[in-house]
Amino acid sequence: MEEAILKFENLTKRFPGVLALNQVSFEVRKGEVHALVGENGAGKSTLIKIVTGVYPRTSGELFYQGKAVEFHSPHDALRNGIAAIYQEFNLIPALSVVENIFMGHYFTQKGGLVDWAKIREEAQRLIDFLEVDINIDAQVRDLGVAKKQVVEIAKALSYQAQVLIMDEPTATLAQKEIDTLFRIVKSLKEQGVTIIYISHRLEEIYQICDRVTVLRDGNYIATRKLTEVQMEEIIQMMVGREVVERFPRTLHKAGEEVLRVEGLSRSGVLEDISFNLHRREILGIAGMVGSGRTELLRALYGLDPIDQGQVWIKGEKVTIHSPLEAISRGIALIPEERKTQGLVLLLSVMENIGLPILPQIANRGFLDEEELKKIAQKMVKTLNIRTPSIYQRVMNLSGGNQQKVVLAKWLARESAIYFFDEPTRGIDVGAKVEIYHLMNHLIEQGSAILMVSSELPEILALSDRVLVMREGRIAGELTKEEVTQESVLKLAVGRRNVGAQSS
């Protein structure tokens, strides 16, 4: 256990104008699960990309199994036993599981023909070892996120990986799938595989990691045993200052009802959904991925048709057929995927903020650019969006700042009801807290918030009430007093405690 499999010595990476890694030195021991944490921009990805041969280093040394090495491509690293699994999977959707696992290193028979029998046998062995129910002949595109991830792991193992790097592996997994992943991580560890685990979710790190290394602004801060370090201390090391509260929440007395849903159904997706939402209230929606949470928001927002049921907004019965109608009724949706749903990456900060409000600040179809500029500048200031100017393309901003631009779009519009779908996915601790403050601000101003989140701590800490969804239904409603990790999970999984795999 004490032997170092990877050792960094004064590793430095300089991009033009920026020092991404500054003399980083630490070691990863053979067979451990080593967490790597830090805010966005701390240098985690750069470090990983140097290890896997994506970037060349500027200076410093990397030792692998005692030898100084430099990999020139991910494939080079892979052949030497270092594999990385990114959030964006490297799989070919139209091909089968077998083909994906052995892509790039098919066994061949004499004469160069592919030895399918041997490949299938080996692939089956890997899948069996991982103990996940996957048909090796299935097309990868038909698998859910969790199973795709398992295929990635099998692919890494097919290269006899000694070091497996996982970048935010649980970001899009449901709780049950996370459990499966953790079981796999543990059995890999028993096989002597070393795992470098990158995650924003500190709770998870405590569950499966042995040691943690913190990076901040390209500098190495510390490596600690997780049994010997408090979460608050890790956060403090990441942020560089003391974070007083991770989940700030100012409580208010809920006001009058602004949204009421009765018996809402959408065939095969949502069934008999009823609930209400009040002013100055955050109503959390918990549940597994695939339980219908996002679908509920979509239906209410006019994106998907409703088969049955009624919706009242501020006491008025409404039927909403399009996002435009939803918006004009005072609803705002902050979607799950900011890059593909929330933002037009090619456009500037100002133009993105302007999207929902252009008609209001236009004069006979002509844009009032001065007004738009003022609004954008005000929003950048209010939300503390870190951007060189309002003319910067949003594609150049960090994740947290992008998310703030999505919020700015809707703050400029002053909506009454905000739907948040995974409001803090993939953004760092500092930006998270800012977004929570903003939600509080909205509540203070008298808005109502419906929040879907897979991060239980977020649901527990912020919600006034929690709806738990399961298989398209509301499995139960919990008050602030009743809501605990256990009570939510119990409802989310249900009595039929069977594999709730998302697909």
Binding site: A20, T46, S322, Q341, L355, A362
Partner: protein, 328 residues
């Protein structure tokens, strides 16, 4: 998660500088270089009459390139414009010669038909969820056939002097089609820059889903863009029929290539969301200038097609490299 994309864009390599420059003024520079080269090779090239001649020849393609810019900005494509030119042209000629000779009807009906075909293309591709490539490929065949049907296989010739003004008239020293062309460029430029509709075009082209979630009626604007293009193709049909003094069966054949090429050479991305109508203006002029210059030099016309094709590939290649540079 790529945590450090910003710093790479601050790197100002020579390639980077070139692409930043190219994005802003590359096509204009290419245009100027080509003009200077032809000017040196054949002194006639810069004669005012020749310059007007080039712009007049370009105006038919150019008017459509204006409309095509809207469609391509929305990541769409329209292959049917050449057939719209032929069909609206033959309808105009029929009104002039066979169906009573009303000037009003021979102008208004073709324009409405052009807009109608554009609407059809837009409606079927958005509401039917079909790629516009397929829908307009169909339209291309349908309206070429309809042209032959209306004409009964024979061109229709002999327009009234008033109608001939559209394609052959002069306002002072300037040909009327040139006014139509440059006028539509200016109007489209203002629409794209200054109006809500224009800004929506860029938002939808950049990310249709984000646009939809922001309350933009994505389908409606897509259909509108196709309708505008159809209308402008109808206008081109009028100009062509008027200038030829005849509704021709093969009118507009292959125009879709020149129109799309003008837009692409002008820097509008086939992926949508980036570009503009002034680029298309230069793109159309560049194609026209090359044809004209090679003509003046006495080069076989066959070479023109080869050169044109090479320029298209080069332009798209440069665009691709620019995008790759920005992505890294």
């Amino acid at each position: 998660m790529p945590s450090l994309p910003e710093e790479k864009t601050t790197s100002v390599s020579i390639a980077g500088r070139f692409f930043i420059f190219w994005e802003k003024a590359g096509i204009l520079l290419a245009f100027i270089v080509v003009c200077v080269v032809f000017g040196i090779l054949t002194p006639v090239f810069f004669h005012p009459l020749n310059i007007l001649n080039v712009i007049r020849q370009v105006s038919i393609i150019g008017v459509m390139a204006v409309g095509m810019t809207f469609v391509i900005l929305l990541a769409g494509i329209d292959l049917s414009v050449g057939s719209i030119v032929a069909f609206t042209g033959i309808i105009a000629a029929a009104f002039q010669v066979k169906w009573g000779g009303s000037l009003f009807l021979s102008i208004v009906v073709p324009l409405l038909i052009g807009a109608g075909i554009g609407f059809f293309n837009g409606f079927v591709s958005t509401k039917g969820g079909l790629h516009p490539f397929i829908v307009t490929l169909g339209s291309m065949s349908i309206f070429r056939g309809a042209t032959l049907l209306v004409a009964q296989g024979r061109p229709i010739s002999g327009m009234s002097p008033e109608f001939r003004f559209i394609g052959a008239g002069m306002v002072g020293p300037i040909p009327f089609p040139v006014i139509l062309f440059l006028g539509s460029v200016v109007v489209a430029g203002i629409v794209l820059r200054k109006t809500v509709f224009g800004r929506y075009i860029y938002a939808i082209g950049g990310n249709p889903e984000a646009a939809l979630l922001s309350g933009i009626r994505v389908d409606r604007y897509k259909i509108l863009a196709f309708t505008i293009l159809g209308f402008l193709a109808g206008l081109s049909g009028l100009i062509l029929t008027s200038r030829l003094n005849s509704g021709e069966l093969v009118a507009g054949q292959g125009y879709e290539l020149d129109v799309i090429a003008s837009v692409i050479i002008g820097g509008t991305s086939l992926m949508g969301g980036e570009g503009g109508v002034y680029g298309s203006l230069i793109g159309a002029l560049l194609i026209g200038v090359i044809s004209n210059g090679l003509n003046l030099l006495g080069v076989q016309p066959y070479w023109q097609m080869i050169v044109k094709g090479a320029i298209i590939i080069l332009a798209v290649l440069l665009d691709k490299m620019r995008q790759r540079f920005r992505a890294s």
